[in-house]
């Protein structure tokens, strides 16, 4: 059968299993990516070589192919990969394993009986990498690398929902670099950018990995502290203030000292939307500014 040549020529993994889930066919693509020659795996139980496949979903899918002649799909989003192969085809990727989009379906004999099932394996690592990068870009600030305002808005909505369900505390710190315009005017915008990066990376190194640091606007930042009540959040803010004040920002041979003013707020029963919380923390920040800067003020 000349068309059978496609089986080995195609740039997709093809596997055929019999009703006992023993490997009946294993194409070249599978040989190449698994490092397992067809001669070695044919006749063996697929789970002997790939024990990770033994999940409820995989077993159910095999059953439904043999029972209904159904097709079953294994999306990259949910499954990442069926066959754990090294991601070799794509260089600029953070995935350890090849990302795969797979499906299985029936192969019938002339009496319409399902004799075998096929699995196809498509390498989608490149697309998944692009997607991941896009998602990242969409929620990060390009200058500082910390989260952006869009991220804050969606995260706050999420955290509000969680708070409604579980009533766990949530605090937010908003801070702003004092006299930032003067830094820009005196040392130039490149220096201003340097200060923004320097301050944000220093604060980022001090927070827990459940906290989120966000560039809210020009020289304005927010830090979201889940599971944290107002009092401890004020303590965190005070720590931020001290460390920024003491930090040396060395730019172009000059040491430029800056300070920050901070406002702190937490979710309370009378604060029922992200907007209200942001308004509260903004008010606290402006009080800190009015009262002389380089200080922390909490919501009233």
């Amino acid at each position: 059968m000349i068309f059978a040549q496609i089986f080995d020529a195609i740039n997709i993994g093809l596997v055929i299993l019999d009703r006992d889930l023993k490997v009946y066919k294993w194409n070249r693509w599978m040989e190449m990516n698994s490092g397992i020659p067809a001669a070695e795996i044919i006749g063996s139980h697929i789970f002997d070589f790939f024990p990770n496949l033994k999940t409820r979903k995989f077993l159910r899918s095999c059953k439904s192919v043999f029972t209904f002649g159904n097709f079953c799909f294994f999306s990259q989003k949910l499954h990442r990969c069926l066959f754990p192969f090294k991601a070799t085809g794509c260089f600029d990727t953070r995935f350890e394993y090849m990302q795969q989009s797979c499906a299985m379906g029936p192969l019938r004999d002339e009496n319409n009986e399902v004799k075998y099932l096929f699995i196809y394996v498509q390498d989608v690592t490149e697309v998944a990498t692009y997607e991941q990068k896009l998602v990242e870009m969409n929620m990060r600030d390009s200058l500082t690398g910390i989260y952006n305002r869009r991220f804050l808005e969606s995260k706050l909505r999420e955290e509000f929902k969680r708070h409604k369900r579980y009533s766990r505390p949530l605090s937010i710190i908003m801070f702003d670099i004092d006299f930032f315009k003067k830094v820009n005017d005196k040392y130039g915008h490149q220096c201003g950018d340097f200060i923004l990066k320097s301050v944000s990376s220093m604060i980022a190194s001090q927070i827990r990995n459940v906290d989120f640091l966000i560039r809210y606007g020009g020289e304005e930042f927010c830090c979201l502290l889940p599971e944290t009540a107002l009092e401890p959040a004020i303590g965190v803010a005070e720590r931020f203030r001290k460390s920024v004040m003491e930090h040396d920002n060395n730019f172009d041979g000059k040491n430029i000292k800056v300070t920050i003013s901070l406002g702190v707020a937490e979710i309370r029963p009378n604060i029922n939307s992200p907007e209200t919380l942001l308004k509260k923390v903004d008010e606290a920040l402006y009080r800190a500014k009015r009262r002389g800067r380089n200080r922390v003020e909490a919501m009233i």
Partner: protein, 217 residues
């Protein structure tokens, strides 16, 4: 307008509709018992109500049938055989999350993803695939057709009360509506399956229905 509709040729004759109803009864009966076997979950599928419509009437029909039209998700899957078209499955929005643990999909969950949201979506597609496959598969088997399927996808998610898009529905297409209520072990989740097929497929279906009944005559 009404006159045009009345004059329009019936999609299926009364007799053909009866045969189709009968086949659906058999198919759904078998599908339910096979489903229980395959997914290890007890499934109740009600006797399907078979109805034919012109495709452009479908959005109105869905609106009329579903009480909470603001909160639905629709899964679409193309099926290709001699009988071909789109299968649409309508679920209530919350269904995905409720079905997650029932289908044991959390064991596949990549840790970095947003669990509830994505699992809910994937579960809906999984369940949609199983249900559509069972319905179409049994129908195809009884009518001696072989079908293949495209991957399921979500075309409407947490629908926000505006109109159901009908851009994909051509005026020549027909819709066979299978209204069935299905419920799993715990809690009842009900939904609809709609098959939207082309004019050519209907011709094939009429022929297949005739052959099917000939076996018994």
């Amino acid at each position: 307008m009404m006159d045009v509709k009345k004059e329009r040729e019936k999609i299926l004759t009364d007799e053909e509709a009866d045969i189709l109803q009968e086949i659906m009864n058999i198919a759904f009966g078998q599908a339910a018992s096979d489903l229980a076997d395959v997914i290890d979950i007890h499934v109740i599928l009600s006797v399907p109500l078979v109805k034919t419509l012109q495709a452009p009437e479908l959005p109105d029909y869905i609106r009329g049938e579903i009480r909470d039209i603001c909160n639905i998700s629709i899964i679409e899957q193309k099926f290709l055989g001699k009988f071909r078209g789109n299968a649409l499955m309508v679920f209530p929005s919350h269904a995905g999350k409720e079905l997650i643990s029932l289908f044991g999909l959390e064991e596949n969950m990549p840790p970095e993803a947003d669990p509830a949201e994505m699992l809910g979506r994937e579960t809906l597609m999984e369940v949609g695939n199983i249900m559509i496959g069972a319905c179409i598969g049994k129908l195809a088997e009884l009518l001696k057709d072989r079908v293949t399927y495209s991957p399921p996808r979500i075309i409407i998610e947490n629908h926000s009360c505006d109109t159901i898009p009908d851009s994909q529905l051509s005026a020549d297409d027909s819709a066979i509506v299978l209204k069935t209520v299905f419920s799993f072990d715990r809690g009842s989740i009900s939904g609809f399956v709609f098959l939207v097929t082309s004019h050519e497929s209907i011709q094939w279906l009429k022929e297949a229905l005739r052959k099917f009944i000939e076996q018994y005559e």
